[in-house]
Symmetry: C2
């Protein structure tokens, strides 16, 4: 496939510094994609998102197919225009959210049927429908429909689930409409079983995708098992294509995964935590609700190039959180996304200069050092 | 008093185009002050507020004295630094909110005692304490403590209440610490009784203030009686000092009041309405929750120099409101404040060019024309 150009500019161990070129712009990798579930990165304007250095956002097919609907978005000129985000957009397949949010789910060979958590209406999601929806959105990166295997899973269940996802992946590839600057990613499943992961990766390679995602992780297995699964999965992914670890993660998860050859990430953590009064720093996460911040004139990080990190005291942020002010959500989300983007920029620089191990060791030591009382 | 320089650049009938110079910058009048109750114009960053053209914000002494407290704000460098708003700030006296929000209120000659709506703690507000609090905040414009006479009031109650406010005004003047660029405003009371308003204005003139506010309006008397009260009040205010109509109002209220010689306004309407899905336009207020906006690709106002007004379709705003997204509050508040600031700029231009009556007639006709179904 030639939908998305991907070039690797530098490597450092298994880690790669790349450039993924889409119809709506370039994504420097390793990249973190802020989550914009319902066509908005919650609490931020697109300008604020872009100011953090984020180049691509992820939206959720499940939410958008239910509200406002793919026909509506298409009629309004596509998702980019609808949400006023001119850069690249990736949408997930909807499969994961169907399993976590919808009711009366029924999964079979054909696909999945369910009822909307918004209004109870009945819907179906098949590989073909999933491709059509994302085509209507007009997104740059389309994800194949898969079943996110629940954790823990027996070997038998994991095998059955993975093989269903692989058959769906093939149908997705057949239904996807290729066009320049637009690409389709397949998703490796197989739970924590090394041979199933290898089988899944081989099946996807055989079909051929623009990028390869690792799914079914960050679902309760813990960091150690997640990283062990990456160790036995990433080597089976085509080296010349982007590797995307779905739904991950905490800053230290990301550093560990980049060391293992992952190029793309998404996670609700920085946005959701921001709305809950938490701020990420190099010294770990802070809870701004904590009384010890009430009199602190220091900003979250005076060296970061983000107004939210630099121009407001922790005392003021504490006040906003306590008073349930919307601006608390805005500023903490903004800072958190900027923190993640700063981390990604640092990781890219470290790979370019061949000092990733040094950077990662130092970052992880600072980040994981036991804290007095947070959060 | 010489704390605040006020120069009148042009007049048109009773209307004035002025410049009020404070320690933190110039306020072009007629001016609308967005309300930043708890040291934040709800949902907006200070940069967004400034981008609308707003030059001054109003904060509420009652809220800030309770949380985070005046000592805390003073220790953190004052209210400007605390909320990262470098421009002029006006604080109200706290009296109005004590009456509407606090419990166990007791008012006597000395002042008012009450319990906090936040945590039930006991507090007292006297004219002297009120001056001290606003001094600690470091605001540019301090408001005298008054009793906002409830509406309707008997002549006897209105007289008693107004005269208490006038005795408090004298104590405020005595307690206020004059310094360059900082000023104290007195507040005319007297309900809807013309002779009481005249008596109150005379009492304030006798004391001498940097500016003169008209209080006790927009409390249920209706637009007609409000304007009639302005007609019998403004002529008694010193012509060379700013005139501030507190808590007003709807766009058409503001146009009518400017025609009658009012220079300053504040109101929660644009911010509160924004959080409730309403947008102000020249054709009246729109309710973005209304299904008729669901497919409308038009922005709120493509000619306004505000991203929120220009860069997002009504269909997208409808979607955000329906999905309870924070960005709905952000964008609609931003647009509404920008709409108010555009109106003030238009009013200032119209006065400068001697065409205020023409502008006002046209604006009021458009704004008041009966609408199909809104809100």
């Amino acid at each position: 496939m030639t939908g998305l150009e991907f070039s690797i500019l530098a490597t450092d161990g298994a880690a790669r510094r790349g450039k993924l070129t889409t119809a709506h712009g370039v994504i420097d990798t390793p990249a973190f994609m802020p989550v914009g579930t319902a066509a908005t990165v919650k609490a931020l304007t697109p300008d604020q998102v872009a100011q953090t250095g984020a180049q691509v956002v992820l939206c959720n097919t499940y939410h958008l197919m239910l509200r406002p609907g793919a026909d509506r978005i298409e009629a309004l000129g596509g998702l980019h225009r609808f949400m006023n985000w001119p850069g690249p957009i990736l949408t997930d397949s909807g499969g994961f959210q169907v399993m976590s949010l919808a009711s009366l789910r029924k999964i079979d060979e054909e696909g999945v049927t369910f009822r909307s958590h918004v209004d109870g209406s009945a819907h179906a999601l098949t590989p073909e429908r999933c491709m059509q929806l994302q085509h209507q959105f007009g997104v740059d990166i389309t994800m194949a429909l898969d079943e996110c295997t629940p954790f823990p899973a027996t070997r038998e269940d994991a095998t059955k689930s993975m093989r269903l996802s692989m058959r769906w992946a093939k149908r997705c590839k057949a239904a996807f409409v290729p066009r320049p600057g637009h690409g389709l990613f397949g998703i490796v499943q197989g739970s924590t079983f090394a041979d199933l992961r290898a089988e899944s990766a081989a099946a996807l390679r055989e079909i051929g995708f623009d990028g390869y995602a690792v799914g079914g992780l960050a679902v309760g297995e813990g960091q150690e098992q997640m990283l062990a699964t990456l160790d036995v999965t990433v080597p089976h992914l085509p080296a010349d294509r982007p590797h995307y670890l779905m739904g991950v993660g905490k800053p230290d998860d990301i550093v560990e995964a980049v060391l293992r050859g992952i190029d793309m990430f998404d996670c609700v953590l920085p946005t959701r935590s921001g709305r809950n009064g938490q701020a990420f720093t190099r010294q770990g996460a802070l809870n701004l609700r904590n009384a010890r911040h009430a009199t602190d004139p220091a900003p979250l990080d005076p060296l970061m190039d983000c107004p939210a990190s630099r121009d407001y005291s922790r005392a003021y942020l504490h006040h906003l959180v306590k008073a349930n002010e919307i601006l608390a959500s805005v500023l903490l989300t903004w800072h958190n996304i900027a923190f993640y983007q700063t981390l990604m920029r640092d990781l890219r620089s470290a790979i370019e200069s061949g000092r990733l191990n040094e950077f990662a060791a130092r970052f992880l030591e600072d980040y994981r050092r036991p804290k007095a009382e947070e959060p």
